[in-house]
């Protein structure tokens, strides 16, 4: 068994408005000189520390936990899961 850090990123699905990201873009970034930026999306990140036999198993286990406990709301959010050793 090895210890892994698993990053869980929760963000709005496409089509779900993200007023916080829009505000950061329109009222901060685009008011500066950074005109090449076209989109900013906010997200929430959770970092799990977990003991599993390998990276793949760690990711699978964290995905199961997220689904079972509704860590993200599948109606409006999508989740990206990535393990690091």
């Amino acid at each position: 068994m090895a210890t892994f850090t698993v990053h869980v990123t929760i963000e709005n699905k496409p089509g779900i408005s993200d007023p916080e990201g829009d505000t950061i873009l329109n009222d901060l970034v685009l008011k500066g000189t950074h005109k090449t930026v076209s989109k900013i999306k906010t997200a929430q990140m959770l970092k799990f520390t977990i003991k599993e036999k390998d990276k793949k198993t760690a990711e699978k286990k964290v995905q199961e936990i997220c689904d079972e406990l509704r860590i993200y709301n599948p109606m409006v959010s999508k989740v990206t899961i990535e393990a690091f050793s």
């Binding site: 779900i16 408005s17 007023p19 916080e20 505000t23 406990l69 509704r70 860590i71 709301n73 109606m75 409006v76």
Partner: protein, 226 residues
């Protein structure tokens, strides 16, 4: 008639609700801590507003896993009237008892203001004494009150008459200006505005009678008053 007021860590409208149920409408209300069970012979359950678990992760999601929610689900299946107000609504949504989700208000502000609701469904235990399209002056107080459903679910809510209250005007960006919904059977109702802050003339500068009908409806439903 016994009404249970469920208390979670971070509930802060439980006492207001208890006061209204007991002192204004003379009901036999009792608090139930979220780790306890609800009695099987209870007549109605209210999930009050507040900030259960400090809104951590997402408003209502942690409370939705509380032991008492299993009892709430059983009672809901039996047809017992269940009302969720504000955070209570968020908990009902997160526990799957009601459809949809409550997102941050479009303004990103915590909104604390008077609004007007329109009654869209007067066939629930909490709205039976209203006329359709009746207006209710009532306050909101929330940061995550923007009700969202996808288009298919919205169509289904309309078809099954599950939209209970709508805001008269655009308030926070909610889908179809929805302020409250019910389950398919109509006995579980969730609403973002606070009826417990609107039923007494001392604290309602506009008109306290419409909000009172939410509780009058409950009394009528369970046969206390006709």
């Amino acid at each position: 008639m016994k009404v249970g007021v469920v208390v979670f860590p971070g509930s802060n409208c439980d006492r207001d609700m208890f006061h209204v149920l007991t002192d204004v409408f003379h009901l036999d209300a009792q608090y139930y801590w979220h780790e306890k069970s609800l009695p099987k012979n209870i007549d109605a359950v209210v999930l009050p507003g507040g900030f259960s678990y400090g809104d951590r992760l997402r408003a209502g999601v942690i409370a939705a896993h509380s032991p008492i929610i299993q009892d709430v689900q059983k009672l809901a299946k039996k047809g017992i009237p269940i009302l969720g107000v504000c955070n209570g609504f968020q908990i009902l949504v997160e526990s799957g008892l009601l459809p949809g989700v409550l997102l941050k208000n479009n303004s990103l502000n915590f909104m604390c203001q008077w609004t007007n609701l329109i009654v869209e469904n007067n066939n629930t235990p909490f709205t039976s004494q209203f006329k359709l399209n009746q207006k209710i002056p009532i306050p909101i107080a929330n940061g995550e009150g923007r009700y969202y459903v996808d288009d298919d679910t919205l169509k289904s809510l309309r078809k099954k008459n599950q939209i209970v209250f709508r805001y008269e005007t655009v308030v926070n960006g909610s889908s179809d200006r929805i302020a409250g919904v019910c389950n398919e059977d109509g006995n579980v109702v969730g609403m973002m505005p606070h009826p417990e802050r609107a039923v007494e003339s001392e604290i309602n500068p506009i008109d306290n009678k419409p909000s009172s009908l939410i509780f009058e409806s409950l009394l009528t439903t369970v046969g206390v008053k006709n």
